[in-house]
């Protein structure tokens, strides 16, 4: 499951309240002497202040400046005129509608893929279930924009599939035309968010729930529609909201596919062509924030008080039936079809990275390693930049994440949940909006030693990564600390260790697996970040890998090297996920010990 780090961490964020609630109960269980509370409170403040400062300076303030600019009339007054101006531009209205259509279309496409797969794995006992698990992870190792060009070569107007279809039946399916292309690419990449959430929710349904319905006369699809799916619906909603937000905010995919009449690319184009003073760019950012927060809030609202995990102690989840005959053929057919679709961007990317020439043909004509050679000589700096930025950003994230986890779960600092909520709020802020906020909030701020404005250096890129990936690290660290039972710390305290030494010798070591997993998750997802990167890169020497992939994709001549860079990025991310998987299974071992200690 660890490979699902980002989506899982992400989907828990909207319900930060429950984490806080459990934190409160943990706090209630623990009842240290009054003196310790006072002594600890001082330390807690010392820890909380820098964390709060980071969130305020690098998240709240930049976002606030964006919101301010959307409503400022330039003379220090308030105006809704910019919103009126935004609405009066037909391109903006079109972009808004397109963004909505694409986001909803992607949710629908992702649902179409995910629901049958989820049902198959939970309902039937067949080997394909293991394949489906793999399916859930595969798309996550590569952001959609990386595979977009490869998908165009496979499914585009003159792509492999349409060439074959044209030859055989004289037809052409517009998979990749205009908005279709964005929906196709996004849905194919993000359906795992729905799949994983749905499988988890279905797995938590007690078999008696279903049997009771059968006993009362229900069966087949009606049973699924009336009982099984509604019970799993909260999981579905959480996954669907995430897909919506991810797609609505995505900048790279439309840009690479050259679809500019959507909100994110319009924001990018306004800021880069008209300039930082253009109010329309801020209104677009405002709309994007409102819809992101709106979707997450709606999903939180729809799922609130609906913890339908009915599996009781000693109960069994829904019974699996063996698959046989025709239905087995159908199930395998579906799984293999989806597998082929999901793997197509990866395969296409690999082919493209090795292709001499590939256009107007089903497969490349001739293979070569020269793209890799070129990339490894030309773009070594990009790879180095990615490693540098992501290491620093992930490092900041786990330090903050550990601090937040400790403050939330182990202290009674007033307002401590706000740190968790504040950090998690980064999920709802589109990358491009954060980047615009950085540019506006920090312009003119000079950095000592490095030289030049903060926004002109790589430090801004690195900080944006740290802010954007902080929620993942926080979730990972909170989960890790939750598994360390308070009694383990109390035992150390009763043996004479003070709070600081308990933290160093007991808590941190026990949390280490989770902390490292958080590091890897933050690192790998930052390594393929594009939507903030693209605005914050001011010189080619600062460019990380993701920017390089985007840049090379701008011209048909350099699509080969772009694909080679993409393959390298996938290898880095896949390695990261493998490592995080190992770390998490190690953590599970520790957790068992902690569990036994109860």
């Amino acid at each position: 499951m660890s490979a699902a780090g980002p989506p899982q961490g992400a989907n828990r964020a909207p319900s930060g309240g429950s984490a806080a609630a459990s934190a409160a109960s943990v706090g209630a269980v623990q009842s240290p002497a009054v003196g310790t509370i006072r002594a600890a409170a001082g330390g807690a403040w010392l820890l909380a202040l820098p964390v709060a400062a980071f969130i305020i300076v690098f998240l709240a303030w930049p976002v606030a400046t964006v919101l301010y600019a959307a409503f400022a009339d330039g003379q220090g007054g308030f105006t809704t005129g910019h919103i009126g101006a935004f609405l009066s531009i037909s391109l903006m209205r079109e972009a808004f509608v397109n963004s909505l259509v694409v986001a909803l279309g992607s949710v629908a496409f992702a649902t179409l893929i995910a629901v049958p797969l989820a049902y198959l794995t939970v309902r039937f006992d067949f080997r394909g279930a293991a394949l489906v698990q793999t399916l859930g992870v595969l798309p996550l190792v590569m952001p959609p924009f990386v595979g977009a060009v490869a998908l165009q070569l496979l499914f585009g107007r003159n792509g492999s599939i349409n060439l074959l279809l044209g030859e055989a039946f004289g037809i052409r399916i517009p998979f990749m035309d205009g908005l279709n292309g964005v929906i196709f690419v996004e849905g194919l990449h993000y359906f795992p968010f729905i799949l994983l959430n749905l499988v988890a929710a279905l797995g938590n349904i007690d078999s008696a729930m279903e049997e009771a319905a059968q006993n009362l006369g229900s069966h087949g699809f009606r049973l699924f529609r009336r009982v099984v799916f509604p019970l799993a619906a909260p999981g579905f909603v959480a996954g669907a909201a995430l897909v919506f937000v991810k797609v609505f905010d995505d900048l790279g995919t439309p840009l690479v596919l050259n679809v500019t009449n959507m909100l994110a690319p319009q924001a990018y184009l306004r800021i880069t062509s008209v300039g930082l003073e253009d109010p329309i760019g801020y209104v677009i950012a405002l709309v994007m924030i409102v819809f992101s927060i709106g979707a997450l809030a709606l999903s939180a609202r729809l799922t609130r008080g609906r913890d339908y995990a009915t599996l009781t102690r000693g109960g069994t989840s829904m019974r699996k039936r063996p698959l046989a005959g025709g239905s087995a053929v159908l199930a395998y057919g579906w799984v293999l079809l989806v597998l082929a679709l999901v793997l197509s961007p990866h395969l296409g990317l690999l082919l493209l990275s090795l292709a001499k020439v590939w256009s107007y043909s089903v497969l490349p004509e001739g293979f070569t390693l020269q793209h890799f050679a070129l990339v490894l000589t030309d773009s070594r700096q990009m790879i180095g930049n990615t490693l540098l930025y992501c290491t620093l950003a992930a490092g900041i994230d786990i330090v903050l994440g550990t601090a937040i986890a400790y403050l939330v779960l182990r202290t009674r600092l007033p307002g401590r949940q706000w740190l968790d909520w504040g950090a998690s709020a980064a999920l709802a802020i589109p990358g491009i909006v954060l980047a615009i906020g950085f540019l506006r909030a920090f312009r003119g701020i000079e950095l000592p030693f490095v030289g030049g404005a903060l926004t002109a250096t790589w430090v801004a890129i690195m900080l944006a990564y740290a802010v954007r990936r902080l929620p993942y690290a926080v979730r990972s660290c909170v989960a890790a600390l939750q598994q360390v039972h308070v009694s383990l710390e109390e035992a150390a305290q009763s043996l004479g260790a003070n709070r600081r030494r308990v933290a160093r010798r007991i808590v941190i070591p026990l949390m280490m697996g989770g902390i490292l997993a958080g590091f890897v998750t933050s690192f790998t997802t930052a390594a393929v970040e594009l939507s903030a990167t693209i605005l914050l890169v001011t010189r080619e020497s600062q460019a990380p890998l993701s920017y390089g992939i985007y840049l090379y994709n701008q011209s048909i001549a350099t699509r080969g090297p772009a694909a080679a860079l993409g393959v390298i990025a996938i290898v880095i991310v896949a390695l990261g996920m493998y490592v995080s998987q190992r770390l998490l299974s190690a953590r599970d071992g520790d957790a068992r010990i902690a569990e036994d200690a109860r």
Partner: protein, 370 residues
Amino acid sequence: MTTEVLATTGAGIEIEGVNLAYGANVALRDISLSIAPGEFFALLGPSGSGKSTLLRLLAGFNRANAGRVRIAGADVAALPPWQRDVGMVFQNYALWPHLTVGENVAFGLEERRWARERIRARVRDVLDLVSLNGYDDRRPGQLSGGQQQRVAIARTLAIEPRVLLLDEPLSNLDAKLRASTGLELKRLQRRLGITTVFVTHDQQEAMTIADRLAVLDQGVIQQVGTPRELYDAPVNRFVAEFVGSINMYAGTVRAGATGTSTVEVDGLGCVALPDERVVGMATGSAVAVAFRPHAVRLAGPGPVAGLAFDAEVGTTEFLGEFVRHDLLVGALRVVADLPHARFAEAQAPGARVRFVVAPGEILVLADPPR
């Protein structure tokens, strides 16, 4: 009352030679059982005895490898659960959290495509029946455990099942509620006349509620009978030990005077019993000899009939209506429940006292203790 509306009928159940195995794991072995219409029948056994498997077989969730199950005379083997009209109340109640109480109860009726008005009336009636009128719009999570169980029963009764199946109906309730709920269940069952089968591992529960019961162990029915029959005349060691508490010892059948046999109880002594009590047990064969703790009496002076023995009083436990004595006879222990009279002292620990068990209270079982 609403019972006129609810047209429940008792259907008889016939189980013949049912075998059920999961791979090499035999869950039910050659089960034959006949449950009369309107009977309140209990399946009693320890966990893993197959009692729940048998219940689920009736509901259609399990399939027999061999044998026949008939409900109201018709073979139900081919019927899936949703066509059986056999109502089951699950151990954890299985109320759907996404539906209100009213919607939960209406579910089965909607599946039967009833008209909306008719459904509304029936939901009201069955909620009335379990004293939950006015709870329609609550969510299951807002109800107490006892209320949840009543909703689950109402949901099942709403479809007028031919048979009512209850899986450990009292196990999720606290001790206080358990006794009253058991009585309530019995009253409801009597009123509706619905054939009811319930599964429990608690012998006291089974004895107090059921008309008849079947004791299961390792997938085999050990004995079927009324609570009294099972208590007074268990057919084997398992039933004797599972139903009520009992003292059990190894013994040997010896020849006795005409018409009687002497049974020698190892370490306790000998007792003369009429021949019909040791039918099928040859002279010299090893047997089990058992008696209930309350069958042990203080022996007066002089000769007594029955199994008499001298014992040293070990510990005593005051339980109110009786005092439980832990007696030591050599290496053997005997539990004796002696009635308590007001202000009477219990036997002093360490005292040597003579006890007796009347011949009529002594059980001889063909399978000797291991």
